[in-house]
Amino acid sequence: MKRSIIRWPGLLAFVVFVGLLVAFSWLFLDSILRWGMEKTLGRLNGAEVNIERVEHSWVPLSIGVYGIQVTNPQQPENNRVVVGEVRADIDTGQLLLGRYIFEQMNASGIRVDQPRDSAGEVYAPVTKDSLLDAAGSGLEALDIELPSVDDIMQQVNIQTETVIANAKQTFAEQQQKLEQAKAALPSDETLKSYEQRIKELTEGKIEGLGDLAQRREQLEKLKADFRADRDAVKQFKDTVSQARETLSAELAAVKSAPGDDIDRIQQFFKLDSQGLGNVTSLVFGEKARQWSQYILLAYEQVAPMLARSSNDQTIEPARGQGQWLSFTEDDAPPEFLIKKAVTEFAFGDTVLDVDWRNITHQHQQLGQPTTFQARADNNGLWQSFNLNGELSLGENGIDARQQWQLKGLKLSDTPLSESSAFSATLLATTLDTDGSMAVRSNQLEGNGAIRLANLDIQASGEQRWAQLVGQALGQLQRLDIRANMSGDITSPSLSLNSDLDRQLTEALTGTAMSAAQDKLDAVKARLNEQVQSALSEQQPQLAELTQLLELADSKDSRLNDLLNAKAEDSVGDKLKEGLFKKLGGNN
């Protein structure tokens, strides 16, 4: 007998198999959901996502996810965000059509940038620059060398000794010129002989016109000698005047040389604020980066995940995974939508609720952006906080805007830097901040102000510069920091600027000067001693010049007297008297 083509026991086996499959899925649904969520969220995140457990209920259809850890692809040792609990109600009808529509979602216990027990696996490595450019270099890069007096003495090239040497050389040169000029001066004997000759020519008896002519001729010869000597005296006076002027200038230079040198040494102590680097970023950068993750949460965390969910190309599918394509029409409802969500961010014992509307990656289909708003006043940590913004994914990427104001945030015992070279702790401060930012086609641009008042910072380090920076930070009462954010949404950069650099430069300069004051005084004393030694030699020489000038004046005066007045008059009178006598006249 030919057997039937149908094997009825086989049908029974199929029913049993399917029944077992359904029972297995029913029993292990939570584990299957957990596994699926870890895979899907991991793909969207670009790095490992861990979920502690998942619970579901059928009526109404809802799901609870607990202990979510989202690895930071840039820092696999850290979770970019940790969520304690998420509960969501799912629209069953839409789920049958393949749409994940959540009417309400509540997430609590959210913390960002938390360390992981072990490094998470990264599926899509992102080449991302450090959020904070300067902070990445670390405090070790802050190479502050305080100058010592000895180092500076070598660099400054002390001028006092050179000035003294130049003055001595000038003195010697002028001395030589003076000696030459002095040698050409008529001596006192010469002047006396001139006076004697004049006296003989003018006071002796004139023996007629021949005698007169002879005397006149001798007188003219004498006048020629007088003029030559007077020129020599004039030349000498010029030389002395010039020497006195030159030497006075040299002495003034010598006197001021030590002061000039000390001034230049002190100038070298003044540190270049640019050489210090951006201390604001180095000290506050790491903490500001953590703070910014709360401010940028919507962009840094949610937006990239939504962007990835809308574009599978952003992650290269693993072998055997394949790719899921979407064939929704432009006017179709979104496939994924959380209509309302409340996320509770935990700051110690303080909780901040952020209200979300319309979380989706298909904003064009929804026709509305995702909006978020947080407002909390007068809690234990701050006086007032207000954050609101919106974001949407379009053809050109993410478009978004947000603004925030936070007043009276009290911070205490907040570690700023725990570097081996430099550690700093914010013991207490009151922080105010406000700002705004916008994203256009994935490009972020924004700025804000961080104002720290009633600052109390404790900082220390083993190296000298670290101790000085610590002292300077300890003196700060308030600090205004300007923050600028820019760059691609997946790798925003944050830069901080304040007048801390200037304050720190001044403080370091003052400290360095104070530390070097004893040595500076010693240097100054040594230079002054050299100058006094030089002055004790050269000042008498200068006084001598004055005496020489007086002497030259005296000789000049005597020569002028001889040349201009007495000789002419007396000879003329004598001649007149002789002529009258010969003519017999009385007058």
């Binding site: 149908i6 393949g98 055997g320 064939f327």
Partner: protein, 168 residues
């Protein structure tokens, strides 16, 4: 595994219909080449159990083609992507995508689509090829094989003891 192979050998050497074996190979091939957790594989399983085809051949085929599928995954992905992204088919895919039954098939997955297309195209070829091999095996190859020293050595092994036990 040895038992499974022995059962397959028994089926080849028995009076089991050649087409029953050939269809078993085809169904095992579809199950092996396409991703396992898909609705269409339930239909394949139902067919394998409900119709009187050789289950040993079905399982062996599934195992062999599962290994081959791993090698061909990138190729399936490419084929699936090109078909799913083909402009002329967009209307069909959108309609399927909008329907719950279409979404349940998970046709919009590149490897699923690519592997189904390849396995469906290869199914008639494998069916005819399997049928011819079974017929030829029974007519010529079986007698020739039995003369080989390797096979004679095999007949002294544990595998042959299992085979003999099954044959009874």
């Amino acid at each position: 595994m040895l038992t499974l192979l022995a059962k397959l050998l028994k089926a080849l050497n028995s009076e089991t219909g050649a087409w029953a074996l050939a269809f078993a190979f085809v169904l095992g091939m579809v199950l092996g080449l396409t991703p396992l957790w898909r609705v269409h594989n339930l239909i394949i399983l139902l067919a394998a159990l409900l119709f009187r085809i050789n289950l040993s051949a079905f399982i062996v085929s599934f195992l062999v083609f599962s290994g081959i599928a791993y090698l061909l995954d990138p190729w399936f992905h490419q084929i699936g992507m090109s078909v799913l992204q083909s402009p002329s088919w967009q209307g069909v895919w959108e309609t399927l995508y909008a329907s719950p039954w279409g979404r349940i098939t998970q046709f919009h997955h590149s490897i699923t689509m690519g592997s189904i297309i390849v396995s469906l195209l290869f199914a008639p070829i494998l069916a005819v090829l399997s049928y011819l091999i079974v017929i030829n095996y029974r007519g010529h190859i079986q007698a020739w094989l039995l003369k080989l020293k390797v096979v004679q050595g095999l007949r002294a092994s544990r595998f042959w003891q299992i085979y003999a036990g099954i044959r009874g």
